[in-house]
């Protein structure tokens, strides 16, 4: 059970389901509005979380998201057991993508996801082990 004045929310991100990718960010967004979080923080959360969620679907095999929200800010943990990221520095560069042609046809793969996530968070930690998975922790201040 969450401590007082904090709320924890959990989302499963299903494997390979493009139509459902974005459900977590959209649900969280609605709840943040109900909580009275500032529109500016909501904008950042929805952009960063959506990008992270879609990466989990495209590049990994889905996973889960844990959100913890308090008056001071949000902590978002995105965890997957996908292939992992080989070179994190390279992956976060604008325009870098390993997306296949097929994915690009769907409009993804511009290599802007991770840069957008970095830009819309106050802090972001990428933990990744090739062959094991990736955990991205994002902080957004209020």
């Amino acid at each position: 059970m969450a401590a007082d004045n904090t709320i924890k929310l959990h989302y499963d991100v299903p494997n390979d389901d493009f139509t459902r990718a974005g459900e977590a960010s959209s649900d969280l967004k609605g709840k943040l509005k109900q909580m009275g979080i500032s529109p500016d923080a909501i904008r950042k959360v929805s952009i960063a979380l959506y990008e992270g969620e879609i990466n989990m679907v495209i590049h990994a095999n889905g996973g889960y998201i844990d959100a913890e929200i308090s008056e001071n800010g949000l902590k978002l943990v995105l965890c997957d057991t996908g292939p992992g990221i080989n070179d994190i520095v390279q992956a976060t560069q604008a325009g870098f993508s390993t997306a296949l042609e097929q994915t690009r046809m769907l409009g993804f793969g511009a290599g802007m996801g991770l840069p957008n996530m970095l830009q819309n968070t106050d802090d972001m930690i990428i933990d990744s082990i090739v062959g094991v998975g990736t955990t991205i922790t994002m902080f957004i201040k209020m």
């Binding site: 709320i7 967004k29 509005k33 109900q34 529109p39 500016d40 929805s46 929200i69």
Partner: protein, 478 residues
């Protein structure tokens, strides 16, 4: 908080509490309490969905009747272009406009003519405000109201230009004042509307201080009268040429169907969505900045565009076909800042919005963030205790909506028939224990005390006494 006037209302007598509307409302504004629908006026955006769905015609829209013409010395009809698509075999818009005069109006000025000017102003605005891309159309009042309560980050993307109905009213006013010399209060500017949202707009517009529109008639109300007037008009001009009153072309007429407004801005980088649930999806995606490279977003709450308004008579898709036929022989546009009569009057009309739109966080469940977080925790906990069927029997559209109502202090968990059943079974069990123990005097005392306690806690659960609701529910089932 201001501007929460609504044209949508409930006729309590007609409402059967059938629950059909609660799930259809896009903002979850409706609850059924004590057997009758109740609209939360902070949530409602006057989209008209509940009018569309109610099988008992209990949801209605306020509007004026033709008698309003008697209140003024000189009246001008401002027909929405969707009116033109309601008739069979009418190829000339002038016929409809002349028939409107036959209804008793002194003059007529087309909203579609003003729309062509708004299209021109929009083109200019888009080109000059790249930082605001994508710009979201603001002509549908329900969309503006929806953005205001639900999409705070998109308010700055709304096109800050007056809607065609307002520009039409302002131009008509200038024209008539010059022609008749009458004071403002003797001139009646009467809009002919396809939807309730524009009635709401005329009373409490967003983006501007006050609308010049003096009254609003519904297309479906004047339709039968207009059919008669059309016959008379045809007869009247059998041997003489009919006065040419129309001042609009393809662009202006096109505004009545989804995609028409975007068509008028001559751009390929636009998106047009219609139907309130589609619109909400687009707004959600826009908020996550999922579209890049678009400069204009046209949104219409009604499926098909304004021709799908609940105060029209024709099927919206047939209306779309008729719209195409009407446009066939028309020039691209007639009204423009550079030509004809409208120019003279539009010259000193101010097209820009003059009032800021402020985010109204009506969906908040606390007075501050801490309260919001704690209340949401309570909501989550209550939701877990519900069966998750979203059956609607409690009068709320979803289990979550009921949980939110409980946390807001507006409902009790016994409104849920499943929870109610559990309590009921529990009480029955205690009662049977009591009867069983009656033979043994010492245990009976204990059981009575237990039962009394359960009963007290059960009935205290409800802020509003549950008895009434129960009775209503039982009646419904018979």
């Amino acid at each position: 908080m201001e501007n929460f006037y609504h044209s949508i209302y409930l006729d309590k007598e007609l409402c059967k509490g059938c629950l059909n509307c609660i799930k259809r409302c896009p903002t979850q504004a409706i609850r059924v309490r004590n057997g009758k629908a109740v609209i939360n006026n902070k949530f409602c955006i006057d989209c008209g969905e509940c009018i569309r769905i109610c099988p008992h015609y209990a949801k209605l829209a306020k509007r004026d009747t033709l008698e309003i013409l008697d209140k003024f010395e000189y009246t001008v009809a401002l027909p929405a272009p969707s009116l033109y698509t309601q008739f069979n075999n009418i190829k000339d818009i002038n016929l409809i406009l002349n028939a409107l005069l036959g209804l008793g109006f002194d003059d007529v000025f087309e909203v579609s003519a003003a729309a062509e000017l708004v299209s021109e102003a929009t083109i200019k605005y888009i080109a000059e405000h790249k930082e605001q891309w994508p710009i979201i159309s603001s002509a549908c009042p329900s969309i503006v109201r929806l953005v205001r309560v639900r999409f705070p980050n998109l308010i700055e993307h709304l096109l800050p230009i007056k809607a065609p109905i307002e520009i039409a009213a302002e131009i008509a006013l200038k024209k008539v004042t010059e022609k008749t010399g009458l004071p403002r209060n003797k001139i009646g500017l009467i809009f002919i509307t396809p939807c309730p949202a524009k009635v709401t707009y005329s009373k409490e517009p967003l983006g501007i201080e006050k609308s010049e529109i003096d009254g609003v008639l519904a297309i479906k109300d004047i339709y039968p009268l207009l059919l008669e007037a059309l016959k008379d008009t045809v007869k009247e001009y059998e041997d003489s040429p009919m006065p040419e009153l129309s001042e609009s072309g393809k662009i202006g007429i096109g505004w009545s169907v989804s995609g028409g407004e975007a068509n008028g801005i001559v751009s390929d980088n636009y998106l047009a969505a219609d139907g309130i649930s589609n619109v909400i999806k687009v707004l959600e995606n826009l908020e996550d900045e999922r579209f890049s490279g678009l400069n204009f977003i046209e949104l219409n709450a009604c499926a098909g565009g304004c021709v799908g308004g609940v105060l029209t008579v024709e099927n919206p898709y047939i209306a779309q076909t008729k719209n195409k036929r009407l446009k066939k022989y028309l020039p691209v546009k007639v009204s423009s800042f550079n030509n004809r009569a409208t120019t003279v009057y539009s010259e000193d009309v101010d097209f820009d919005w003059n009032k800021e739109i402020v985010y109204e966080p009506v969906f908040r469940i606390g007075n501050n963030v801490i309260e919001g977080i704690n209340n949401l925790n309570s909501v989550e906990k209550i939701v877990e205790s519900f069966p998750g069927l979203d059956c609607g029997s409690c009068g709320a559209p979803t289990c979550r909506a009921l949980a939110e109502d409980i946390v807001r202090g507006e409902a009790s968990d016994t409104a849920c028939i499943y929870i109610f059943k559990e309590y009921f079974n529990f009480l029955t069990l205690q009662l049977s224990t009591l009867t069983h123990n009656m033979s043994d005097a010492s245990d009976a005392g204990n059981s009575i005390a237990n039962l009394e306690q359960s009963l007290t806690s059960f009935f205290n659960k409800d802020a509003a006494p549950p008895e009434k609701e129960e009775k209503e529910e039982k009646k419904e089932k018979k």
